[in-house]
Symmetry: C4
Subunit: 204 residues, 4 copies
């Protein structure tokens, strides 16, 4: 029950955040460049919309998968979950800022792409922290994970955090390259189960 309402609140936050991404689709409207030109100029916004939409969507899926393995909810979990949501909610800001500066070109595109990657890094770190919270104490999960599964999860979560960290660094070399890296991560997670899901499957 407690968990049900925690998930309902989180679902609501994910749903609003993913929908707010669409606010950046807007064009300047009539009286500016032709619509085709405006849409063409704004391609980074449209590319970023798709990438961020799937990134939030996949994180929601993984959030869901992870939380259903939890047996308890404590203050620490609530705090970690709020931290995760704080980064999720910042994604539309990161997306819009990155797209605006990518479109405009110039030096600030590097910083903007780095901020976008940093928000995703914050999300990945919070997500991993929730996973680690759950394996620190066996009574926190319906079924304890095998040490092998935990090790494998560690590797994969570590990889995720490392890739977003790399994207921050890459952003200072090439902003579009950072966006490509972030896109690849999103595509990867669409087709790959999370370690937790695998673990669950193994345990079932």
């Amino acid at each position: 029950m407690e968990q049900a309402r925690l998930e309902a609140f989180s679902d609501g936050v994910f749903a609003v955040a993913i929908t707010l991404l669409a606010l950046d689709l807007a064009v300047a409207g009539p009286g500016h460049d032709s619509l085709a030109t405006q849409l063409g100029d704004r391609w980074p916004s449209y590319a970023a919309y798709v990438v961020s939409f799937f990134t939030i969507g996949i994180t929601w899926v993984n959030h869901h998968t992870l939380f259903k393995s939890f047996a308890i909810v404590d203050r620490m979990l609530l705090f970690l979950n709020l931290t995760l949501l704080m980064f999720i909610v910042a994604i539309p800001f990161g997306t819009a800022t990155m797209a605006a500066y990518l479109r405009h070109g110039g030096n600030d595109a590097h910083l903007a792409a780095a901020i976008y990657a940093a928000i995703l890094e914050g999300m990945a770190v919070s997500f991993s922290a929730i996973f680690f919270w759950s394996v620190r104490n066996d009574r926190r999960r319906h079924e304890p994970l095998q040490p092998d599964t935990v090790r494998s999860a560690l590797v994969r979560f570590g990889a995720g955090m490392f890739v977003y960290l790399a994207a921050i660094a890459i952003a200072f070399v090439s902003a579009p390259a950072a966006l490509v890296v972030i896109t690849v991560v999103a595509v990867y997670y669409v087709f790959e189960h999370t370690p937790t899901a695998d673990a669950q499957a193994t345990l079932k």
Copy 2:
């Protein structure tokens, strides 16, 4: 349970997207044309609000009807559902853009109406893909559909996809005509059950 949370998340996205439509109702306010003039000039926004509201609303109803026939949730369904939601969330953008250019007149109204129709086409295609996912494997549904029902659904989904595709083409001839076609589809779906719902009724 898994399905319940998938539906809760989808409901949240539908609810936010349908509510964001209202952001385009706003007038410029005092200090511009008289309020009556502003409201009169903005009629395409108000017409489009009603059409998009019912289009999203009916799609939500059909989403609901379809998903309750599903016995399992897998990665592919999650991916297809995210794709559907990505188009749903883009509807307020498509609606506002179409209304702005329809109001302003000129050549760009054609492209704006075509984009609106294209977003709806994307929604229809994603929706159909979810249906096809469900009939590819009998264990995905609580009760397998009869071949006749599937064939009939194919025809009707095909029709829906065709009409929105036609609306894209019509938009390049006449933007208001495309809006009329889209309105007719919305009205039709308010009063007509989806194939799936019929199928369910038949099976019950």
Copy 3:
């Protein structure tokens, strides 16, 4: 189950609409009049925020009370509920427009207040239509209502619709007076049970 998801979707729309009211609280910010002056000038926005917040909130309460008496969900109910939600979602627009013109004074304040009242009238009519849908056929309710209860509900719903209609007329004489009438209705509904709730209590 079907009803649960209909309520979940409606709850989501109510929740987003009620929250969007807050977008009109914003002041112009530094570099304009002093903050105290801005806040003072914007008093109609703050008064209207409270009134609309309770109006949507109370309608949500009544929606909830009404729907839990329903035994079935059919296409007509879905359509009527969508119509109701379409007016709910338009309330932030009506509220902000009314407040902007009330603040600015001039002739357009009348029309703006009338539009606000008209949106609430549309809400009241849709709500009544849902009630009438439910009493047209006994199998639509868990327990049929007594003719007396239906008659009493008719009177009270009629009164609600009449008062908002009156507010539309009053708006053309005095916009603030229309806001006062709408406020009185909100206060009345906070402290008074809906006919339906009374009916339920009687039947229990």
Copy 4:
């Protein structure tokens, strides 16, 4: 059931309000100061985002804890809950206004910080009122609270209300100091159980 839907609606409002905080993260974009300068100038917005995010998040947690101890839902509770939500929904406005004036400096920063603190005070008072509603009559709770627990809750709720009241006063001396006080309250509540939660634990 009744309570479930009340919580679902409240969760929705909390989720939307917490997400709308992110709208104030936006920078002016290309063509203004360098992105680094813009981000640096806007530090009050980023600090306030984190503080308000955790304040709303913790209030949601406490709301959840409190409501699950309730045995009934009546009109008064619905009214008090709407009042609480009205303040929650105003938090993004208070946050953005405070941050804008803090950034800009000048005399109005005092008033802006006082308004932010006043909204939080309104939230704290409404929350306390809900608690007092629940202890006025034993049948309103699943298990009546011991007089000791109620007294202890009184002290702690009183403390909360007093601190936000103090923050209003402090704001007129130093706006940043008021923000620090509000931050301390948020941090305190992250790590401290609410009296209600303690009470529950004692009773279990």
